[in-house]
């Protein structure tokens, strides 16, 4: 991991003030508390921000790729228009796993055909990351898949130092945000290095899979490994893992007239390759008709099929699916079973 050089430092007070200022021009989403859960949500005041990270149920991908999104509007007399919605948004306090997730989603939605709905939101969003000093909980395994440090997906990255943060600037959008909203002072230049030393110490023995780079090959060779059925037979096909995953982006598209049949819209919504009907076609064939096949497909998307494309494990090790899975199925355990670490 190459050390980054920060350009500025900011006190926590100034940071909060900056966010407050930004609220005039942006909707700001940050880690916050609602009912008895912690989640990324739109805040009204910086006082609502929770700095102490606890894993959320959903990843912040929902801000770029919402659960339901209207993509077309039309009328009964044939007027039809694309609906592309985006608001100036600040995503604050996103952690490395999710930032790496953003990077993958950005690439996927920009791939070959640039998805207008997704990219419009990317364009209008300033992403401010915060580095993790320590492992957030027992289910997280970012360090196994090389995701404990963000490699992209952010405009600004914050590293915790005494009384504030050192800021790494990744994009022009990021530096414009600083000059417009944040009161900063010059950095010494070694802040990030010392943060990362501390982080390395905290992560300690937790090292990436020995065969991280070879995972696609290993998965290719182990299509029929016993682990697939061992884990797959427990799978409920409930799709929870997919809903919570920061790098799952399959969707379904449906049309709906309003009840008066005068206006209608086309909506895309999250879909899940783990649920039974996902790969069924009109002729009645279901190309992945067992939970084992579906599990194989999902995990291979993460460590094989898409990993080749993005040159990085597409599972970012956030641990959300492990927490969400009632059947206790874990991509990490599967990777280990096929020899990721031996």
């Amino acid at each position: 991991m190459s050390a980054q050089t920060p350009e500025f430092v900011i006190t926590k007070k100034d940071l909060l003030q900056g966010l407050d200022k930004a609220l005039a021009d942006y909707q700001v989403a940050a880690l916050t508390k609602k009912d008895d859960r912690v989640l990324y949500d739109i805040i009204k005041s910086p006082t609502e921000v929770v700095f102490d990270y606890q894993p959320t149920v959903l990843s912040p991908k929902k801000f770029f790729f919402p659960q339901d999104e209207t993509i077309l509007e039309y009328t009964a007399d044939g007027k039809i228009s694309a609906k592309i919605e985006a608001k100036p948004t600040v995503l604050f306090g996103i952690r490395p796993c999710d930032l790496n997730g953003f990077k993958i989603l950005h690439e996927a939605f920009a791939d070959d055909h640039g998805d207008p709905n997704y990219l419009a939101k990317v364009e209008q969003t300033v992403v401010i990351g915060i580095d993790c000093e320590k492992i957030c909980d027992k289910d997280a395994f970012c360090f196994k898949v090389g995701s404990q440090d963000a490699t992209g997906g952010f405009d600004l990255m914050l590293y915790e130092i005494a009384d504030g943060y050192a800021i790494e600037i990744a994009t022009d959008k990021g530096s414009q945000f600083i000059s417009k909203y944040l009161t900063t002072s010059k950095a010494n230049g070694d802040e990030i290095t010392s943060c990362q030393a501390k982080k390395a110490a905290n992560f300690g023995q937790e090292k990436p899979f020995k065969n991280l780079a070879k995972l696609p090959e290993l998965f290719e060779q182990n299509k029929h490994h016993a682990v697939w059925d061992q884990e797959g037979s427990r799978c409920l096909s409930c799709g929870s893992c997919i809903m919570v995953c920061p790098t799952c982006y399959c969707f379904d598209v449906g049309d709906e007239w309003q009840l008066n049949l005068k206006k209608g819209e086309r909506v895309r919504k999250w879909d899940a390759c783990m649920v039974t009907p996902f790969a069924a076609v009109g002729s009645g064939e279901n190309f992945r008709h067992t939970a084992t096949y579906r599990l194989h497909h999902r995990i291979n998307r993460k460590f094989n099929f898409l990993m080749k494309k993005h040159n990085q494990a597409v599972c970012v090790g956030c641990g959300r699916c492990v927490r969400a899975c009632l059947a206790d199925i874990s991509p990490k355990r599967i990777a280990e079973a096929i020899g990721a670490d031996s």
């Binding site: 409920l236 929870s240 049949l261």
Partner: protein
């Protein structure tokens, strides 16, 4: 729409909550709905009765043999028969009595004259006549009702989800109730209610019926992991799922 389809509502043994949910419409929705369908019979709300209708919407469980001819007549008359709610779709809460013998529950409730009133095993409508579409739930979800009616009018599939409640529960960003030590049938129950119970501090008790191809073995393992015995799990399933042969293979 050339001619509006005629729609008639019928009820058998039930609480009639689904009919109420069906008319829980905004003024705009009701006016729009009446643009696309013609309601010709709805005993709970209107006095008109009709012998001719295209779509019959049937609520309630069949709990008396004497109800069967009436149901058959409805089936013969209607082009499309839809069940409305858990009672007619899966026999609902009414089938809870099926776990006791008839003599037991009759004795229990009318000890003076147990056999005074006719009653028999509670059955879902599809066990007696063919059903073209179903709207599950106890009670039904109003939006889903509107969508199904609209789809049928447009010649579309009713579009009832085949995936489980967990999908919607997660979309709503709920913390799973199992984490609070509460058991939930969400992983094997058909979605479409927007995970209403877990999202509002409850838990799913399966009112919408089981999904196709449920992994009941795994559901059972989960409950066991959360310290529930097999019997306790069966108890959870009893509320709404007596008629499900996968869950209760020895059912009546």
């Amino acid at each position: 729409m050339a001619t509006k389809p005629k729609v008639a509502f019928f009820d058998f043994s039930c609480c009639e909550g689904c009919q109420l949910a069906a008319i829980d419409l905004t003024p705009e929705q009701l006016l729009d709905l009446l643009e696309v369908i013609d309601i010709v019979e709805f005993r709970e709300a209107i006095s008109e009765k009709s012998d001719s209708y295209d779509i019959a919407i049937v609520e309630g469980t069949i709990t008396r043999d004497s109800d069967i001819p009436r149901l058959q007549k409805i089936r013969e008359t209607a082009k499309i028969l839809i069940t409305l709610g858990a009672c007619s779709t899966i026999a609902g809460i009414n089938a809870l009595k099926n776990f006791q013998t008839k003599a037991e529950y009759q004795q229990d409730v009318y000890p003076d004259d147990p056999t005074k009133y006719e009653t028999t095993t509670a059955r879902a409508v599809h066990e007696i006549v063919e059903v073209d579409a179903f709207i599950p739930g106890c009670p039904i979800d109003t939006d889903e009702f509107v969508r199904v009616v609209k789809n049928l009018v447009l010649g579309k599939k009713p579009d009832i989800p085949e995936y489980p409640v967990c999908v919607e529960c997660k979309r709503n960003e709920n913390v799973c109730v199992y984490e609070k030590g509460i058991q939930c049938l969400g992983p094997v129950t058909r979605a479409g209610c927007n995970a209403r119970c877990p999202s509002n501090g409850g838990y799913c008790f399966g009112c919408r019926g089981i999904i196709p191809e449920p992994n009941l073995k795994s559901q059972q393992d989960i409950m066991q992991r959360y310290n529930l015995t097999f019997d306790q799990m069966q108890e959870k399933f009893k509320l709404f799922l007596e008629r499900n042969k996968e869950v209760f293979p020895d059912g009546k």
